[in-house]
Symmetry: C2
Subunit: 346 residues, 2 copies
DNA sequence: AATAGCACTCTAAGTGTTAGAGTGCTAATT
DNA sequence: AATTAGCACTCTAACACTTAGAGTGCTATT
């Protein structure tokens, strides 16, 4: 008899179990797997392999003598070693493009529609994190007086993101003075990322000692206003309803946990901000998500770039039993298209 | 025996049925009502009255010989004629104020927190519609060049709302020219609502015939850019998870309908925009909501004002079985506080 | 007009039964 | 030595059946 590599057979059976379970949402029995292999392996053999896989903690039985279900660890192994990416169909790509390229030149719409695109094509919830201001590149600033004591600043970044902020400023500056300061900043700060502006100006300030100092000081003061780079942490969310089509949510408790997770902006924000630092796809499976008591949920995230600079992230949230291959492809595709669209708006 | 006014007894029994049902979520029997009246009326009498109420379509039985449940019509009569407003406790007021008055001077936060406040205090979902630009009063405009072919406009309204828009503009204007146009608009448009600007300028344009004309024409052209007043239709939403605590949502189908209704931004937007035109509280009960197949859901809305001008609306969405008295009081209170906060930001 | 009494209805919850899907083990087969 | 067939065993999900009790409507009584 031909010698069979035990390990590779275990892998391919795990693969079959995961895919079958993802597809059917029901515990997978040895017979079903045997059929997947066109009965080239008998159910009995598969049962033996399954026992091994269970010992390794990759699959489990919901109860004695039921079929097997992948564990978090099983999914982890699957996505790390077995998973094959699915190509998007032309149709799916066109749905996505139609949603993202609305050419309304309004970033809010683009973001909202990007999250809708994620949920529509993957059938799980979609989340989009707005471009991080600190990661964005300075393009233009405008300053003007709102009234006697308040100045408004409008900062435009190369990614087309516009941030305005009203600030109390004790000393009154004339419109001309403000214009001069803005002009100075515009020539000085080109290409600097917003996150570096502060240290950049402070450094300048230390070098400068002549009459120019007081002018530079004012500019620095204005840009030091706390509210200026804050509040850029908006999440766009879509697909809460569509996720209810998954059978795991017939249990109200799980639905509630899911909704709670989705409304926990802080937690999501943390996760996305963290994942953003890493390139490409990141996957958090079930209990790996320690940031919350989220169980039975997986989160897949992907950074997106504008002019080769990572500025934000998108994500998909769904039951651990999700089509990882498709979800990953979709996020990759959308992150690229979103980046392109933002560049064209910038 | 003392003569009893039949009609007023019917009313007070309907009142008792609604309040008992809102409280317990279970069909209300004649015994329970009798106890509410400290047995001053016997269950048998109440049964007779109930039969009358049922005939009028104000209550119904989920099945033969079960207790009674209010119909949409019953709720309608209740909110129109019987309902007593509940005062907010100091505690509730303080929760609301803490959320709304974060003094971050960031409107997004204020809106987000207002919706959170609604859901937190009423235990149903909260929605906040951003101030309608067209209803807002012009305060200040600033124009500057983004690059050779694009101009950025920043408009500030008295309600503190800032709208920026980038527009393609075929003829290149120098910074000075833009500044002059902005200065002109600033002096000219003070106190005009954004919705009237267009017609205001067109009127001006007709009167004017001298060299000033071309200047005025440019200003008009700039403000005619379509994107400028668009995209001010953002909804802030909170409380999807908290609503799951209501027993009506043990049925997954209803949960799904609810989530679908909440994600149907267009429908909600329409409803809120419409209701905004009317002063005070508006209530849509169950199937009265024709804008969607929403059933078993009620929507309560309230406009809010800045400087005595209605600019937006807030709403609560929950099962028809909701504490209307409390919800109404909360919306009234929050709409006022929200208006005040926006004034202080403006 | 209001109420007590009573027969009747219907549900929700609990119990019992059964079909069938799936397992693990052992012995037979290749 | 690896694979497989056979078989006894386990557990669930589904269905039928029973029953307690909450609530009703009607009729006779106060």
């Amino acid at each position: 008899m031909k010698k069979v590599d035990t390990e590779s057979r275990q892998k391919s059976i795990l693969n079959a179990i995961v895919e079958s379970y993802v597809d059917s949402a029901a515990p997978v029995g040895s017979r079903a797997i045997a059929q997947r292999f066109r009965n080239s392996i008998s159910p009995a053999t598969i049962r033996n392999v399954m026992a091994d896989l269970e010992e390794k903690g990759l699959i489990m039985q919901p109860y004695t003598s039921a079929g097997r279900v992948p564990t978090d660890k099983g999914y982890r192994f699957y996505v790390d070693s077995l998973l094959e990416l699915k190509h998007l169909t032309k149709e799916e790509e066109s749905i996505i493009n139609k949603l993202i390229r609305q050419s309304t030149s309004d970033i809010e719409y683009v973001m909202q529609n990007a999250s809708k695109a994620i949920s529509l094509v993957t059938n799980v919830a979609g989340v989009v994190l707005t471009p991080r201001l600190k990661r964005s590149i300075f393009k233009h600033i405008e300053l003007f007086n709102m009234d006697d004591s308040r100045i408004m600043a409008v900062i435009v970044t190369t990614s087309g993101f516009v941030k305005n902020s009203i600030m109390d400023f004790e000393e009154h500056l004339t419109g001309q003075e403000l214009t001069r300061i803005a002009e100075f900043l515009n020539s000085e700060l080109e290409g600097v990322s917003l996150g570096e502006i502060k240290s950049y100006l402070t450094r300048k300030l230390l070098e400068e000692r002549d009459s120019f100092y007081i002018f530079l000081k004012r500019a620095t003061d204005i840009l030091s206003i706390p509210g200026l780079f804050k509040a850029d942490d908006h999440l766009y969310f879509d697909g809460a309803a569509c996720i209810m089509s998954h059978p795991e949510f017939t249990d109200i408790k799980k639905t509630r946990l899911f909704l709670r997770a989705c409304e926990d902006k802080k937690g999501l924000l943390n996760l996305l901000n963290q994942d953003m630092e890493l390139e490409g796809i990141k996957i958090h499976i079930g209990k790996e998500n320690l940031y919350n008591e989220i169980q039975d949920l997986s989160i897949v995230t992907c950074n997106y770039k504008v002019n080769d600079m990572t500025v934000g992230a998108i994500a998909a949230i769904g039951p651990t039993r999700m089509e990882y291959g498709r979800v990953i492809s979709v996020l990759k595709y959308i992150s690229i298209e979103l980046g392109k669209e933002l560049e064209s708006l910038g």
